[in-house]
């Protein structure tokens, strides 16, 4: 699945942000010589196809006071991770949860689960719940707190056509 040249121009035009005018889609249309209806239809179609995850605002947590966020990482037996991974992912407080490769000996962890909280104490409580769930199938664990956000823009397209 992919996008055509007009879709791409549309995405590129919105990267710096939607125009802050009462009719932003009409304004985008004027920039790109498209009607407002076509702009809305194309954005809706890309959203339906999953090319656009969402149209939304991302707050700058670093500027606003960062709530604690940590990637909890776990070394789970290969024979158990397919069974236990979905159980961790199904915990209501777990954000993104997935299986990733190990890099031994530096990095023995294969299961990643994103945890958020108002403070580190809350994150640690959540981490303890996961540890109990994994039990003896887990041979080691760590948590990596985010100490500074250096860049958070969402994906950006190159300025030139591919």
């Amino acid at each position: 699945m992919s996008i055509d040249a007009i879709d791409r121009r549309l995405l590129a035009a919105t990267q710096a942000g939607l125009p802050l005018t009462p009719e932003p889609y009409a304004e985008l249309g004027r920039w790109l010589d498209l009607g407002e209806e076509e702009v809305i239809d194309r954005l809706a179609s890309m959203q339906a196809r999953g090319v656009i995850r969402r149209i939304a605002l991302a707050p700058n947590h670093d500027a606003l006071g960062l709530p604690a966020n940590g990637v909890s990482v776990w070394d789970v037996l290969d024979s158990e991770v397919e069974r236990l991974g979905p159980q961790v992912g199904a915990l209501a407080f777990v954000g993104h949860c997935c299986l990733r490769p190990r890099f031994l000996p530096l990095w023995p962890y294969n299961l990643f689960a994103m945890l958020h909280g108002a403070g580190r104490e809350e994150v640690e409580e959540k981490r303890a719940v996961i540890a109990r769930l994994l039990g003896p199938a887990c041979r080691g664990q760590d948590i990596l707190y985010s100490t500074r956000i250096l860049k958070k823009t969402g994906m950006r397209l190159k300025k030139t056509e591919p």
């Binding site: 992919s2 996008i3 995405l11 942000g17 939607l18 802050l20 005018t21 009462p22 932003p24 889609y25 809305i40 954005l43 809706a44 890309m46 959203q47 999953g50 090319v51 656009i52 995850r53 969402r54 149209i55 939304a56 605002l57 991302a58 707050p59 670093d62 500027a63 606003l64 709530p67 966020n69 990637v71 991974g85 992912g89 199904a90 915990l91 777990v94 954000g95 993104h96 949860c97 997935c98 299986l99 490769p101 530096l106 994103m114 945890l115 990596l144 707190y145 985010s146 100490t147 500074r148 956000i149 250096l150 860049k151 958070k152 823009t153 969402g154 397209l157 190159k158 300025k159 591919p162």
Partner: protein
């Protein structure tokens, strides 16, 4: 971009309600600020002015469509580097210059620099990671997602 925390009373309750509400999504209708404002009891003009002010003060990192590289025929990959303390700013600047670096943060580990590469063509991940390795002289560990175990509703980092 390294933002310093804004003074705690910079945003009022209404600003925070706007930030919370628009994180969830923004309408695809002719007058979306009016529609989003109506849900919050705010007039269209006030919505626009407040969002403009929030953007101006650096409280917003992005406002608009968020793309999914994989759905566009491209790919994305979580990456990590162990950057010596004295080189941290320099390497952060190097990553910041790349439009394919979607998100970068410092984390408390020997692997202290974590970022996501998002590219429009699947095989570009490796080419790009290799380029950044030779520019920085540092190894990049690639952590592709091998299986996703439910993408929860928790706030994304």
């Amino acid at each position: 971009m390294i933002a310093w925390p804004l003074p705690p009373d910079t945003l009022d309750e209404t600003d925070r309600r706007i930030l919370d509400a628009l994180q969830e999504g923004f309408p695809l209708t002719s007058r979306p600020f009016a529609a989003a404002g109506a849900a919050l009891g705010l007039a269209e003009g006030e919505m626009i002015e407040r969002i403009a002010a929030l953007r101006e003060m650096g409280a917003i990192t992005r406002f608009g469509p968020f793309f999914d590289a994989a759905a566009m025929g491209g790919d994305f990959c979580l990456c990590a580097m162990a950057v010596p303390a004295g080189r941290f700013q320099e390497v952060a600047a190097l990553l910041n210059r790349r439009c394919e670096v979607e998100h970068a943060c410092e984390r408390s580990h020997a692997l202290n620099m974590w970022f996501v590469l998002a590219v429009e063509t699947a095989d570009d991940i490796d080419r790009l990671a290799t380029e950044i390795e030779s520019e920085s002289g540092l190894a990049i560990l690639r952590f592709p997602e091998l299986a996703a175990f439910f993408v929860g509703f928790g706030v994304r980092a």
